[in-house]
Symmetry: C2
Subunit: 326 residues, 2 copies
């Protein structure tokens, strides 16, 4: 009966004709995207964030946004989402209803359909409240080639806004801070923003959302994928004063703190200004900034000109600085 | 570093050019299936089986087979699988390697590609060893309409083999039985079997894998979806003597025990013989049997002529008889 109740919660929240068919599969038509010339784009993520509610979001909004964003980083258009829930026995129905509502709202915001779902319940103490795994299916139009391996010498690096909010907001919600803060997670679906960027700057080479490991880790991954180096300008990287203050007190570097609503854009210099203008006109890109350039240098390093005039290596983080942040 | 090691295990096991691209998305081309006339088919499942190894299989084989089978129940061809792992801290790498190997073997058997993956680690005591969520993406050729809502009066009901093995095998592995048994789970990908059935019997109306809740629950769902009733012949339903014996000792009805490698086929009477012949010639269908028919009767009941000559109602099971069976 519990199982039926839970199914009811999700079916009511996500209710659409496909999910309501009661088959274990969803048959969906691909929209008429350039007559289907192109590729499918597929991604998946398990979400184990602790706690499940945090300032600015919850595990439901995180699960939908994270998967929408992974698809969007291909330049593709996210279409369908699957969602499976592992629920610890005893989790209240009100909590489940709130999370399902939040997922539904995020899916509407991103204009994606939740087409398949599953719920499993485990005994108390065998999970931590709620884990959500999502997969995304999207479409990459023919001819679009965006990926971490595409960065080229002379490309400009843009970040779509201030960094580090998600990680600090989750830490604050955990009660791990010795001070209070008003920082909210930036968790948001970025697909609409990315589509308009690609209209104004069609030659984008790399899109990457700097989630686990933050901006520094994502940039290091890109140097390895593209076999290039990166030169950053520390002063150009936007960080909210509250995040900077929190990081100083915690001994963290904001470059390594997770984001859930930001994107790194790497593109030819000739299109950088157009992309920045588009970003600045969008609610999710107001603080976008040009933060560095791609260098042809086979050492595959991320270097940073610091505020005080020196240059330092921004290394890859070994391991996870903050566990269960997403 | 743990995280990197784990990624290594999965990347080595599943290694294919798509997974190895190090982007958070996989771009995949749809094969030339009748020039893409048709629909995408999408499914998802969370797997929380306890224990993670059981006679005849493990959580890895279960995850791949379950998702392949969900897609196959649409008559569609499974193509791509995503897989996300929630790992309890302290789980040994040998166990992970064994599970990843098992997933890879099942994917090869089913001829599907694991194209996207994610791993998350939670603290000891916050999960139970390993949970795996899988999603499947397949293709339903144009004109194929198979689903629980398609059963029609006079249709014949076939089961592809003996029932109840998976549930009893998992219980045995848990040490919940007071006796020893040689029963093995039937967990297997059914997609190849189903494609050859559809060649010999192209008018199949319903395919359904009787997993959680067993044969009885699946048939009850179908009566509701199709607004029909069902008449079963108890003597025709194949059950291995060991399963029957175990069920008698446990007070279970094999009709409600989970299967992971069986399929219910509902089709016009004129094609039943052809389907049965195909089944009997395949290693996964040797014990296939005609077990009942669809009746036009708006009471939406599953009735069964019993061995001793009476007729009883086979009701819907309320709740879960066996938790964490899949």
């Amino acid at each position: 009966m519990t199982h039926d109740l839970i199914q009811d919660i999700f079916q009511t929240s996500f209710g659409n004709p496909i999910l309501n068919s009661f088959n274990d599969f969803a048959g969906v038509s691909l929209p008429d995207l350039a007559n289907l010339k192109g590729k499918l784009c597929i991604s998946t993520d398990a979400h184990i964030v602790n706690p499940i509610f945090f300032p600015g979001g919850d595990i439901g909004r995180l699960a939908i946004s994270g998967t929408v964003n992974d698809i969007s980083m291909s330049g593709g258009i996210p279409l369908f989402i699957t969602s499976s829930f592992i629920i610890e026995e005893g989790l209240s129905f009100d909590v489940l209803r709130a999370i399902a509502g939040s997922m539904n709202a995020a899916a509407s915001e991103a204009n994606v359909q939740i087409v398949a779902g599953d719920t499993k319940v485990v005994e108390k103490g065998k999970a931590d409240k709620l884990f959500i795994s999502t997969s995304g299916i999207g479409w990459i139009p023919e001819g679009r080639r965006i990926g971490g391996e595409m960065a080229q010498e002379g490309d400009v690096i843009i970040i779509s806004g201030t960094i580090g909010e998600h990680g600090i907001a989750v830490l604050a919600a955990r009660g791990d801070l010795k001070f209070t803060t008003t920082i909210q997670s930036d968790v948001a679906p970025l697909n609409h923003l990315i589509q308009i960027i690609l209209e104004s700057a069609p030659q984008v080479h790399v899109l990457r959302d700097p989630t686990r490991g933050g901006l520094a880790t994502s940039l290091n991954e890109i140097t390895l994928q593209s076999q290039v180096s990166i030169l950053l300008e520390e002063d150009a990287i936007p960080v909210k004063p509250e995040v900077r203050a929190a990081c100083e007190m915690l001994g963290f570097d904001p470059l390594y703190v997770a984001n859930e609503g930001k994107v790194i854009i790497i593109l030819p210099a000739c299109e950088a200004e157009a992309a920045l203008q588009t970003l600045h006109n969008h609610s999710l890109g107001k603080k976008a900034a040009r933060i560095g350039i791609i260098k042809k240098d086979s050492s595959n390093r991320v270097l940073m000109k610091t505020s005080i005039g020196g240059t330092r290596i921004v290394g890859m983080l070994a391991g996870e600085m903050l566990p269960r942040i997403c």
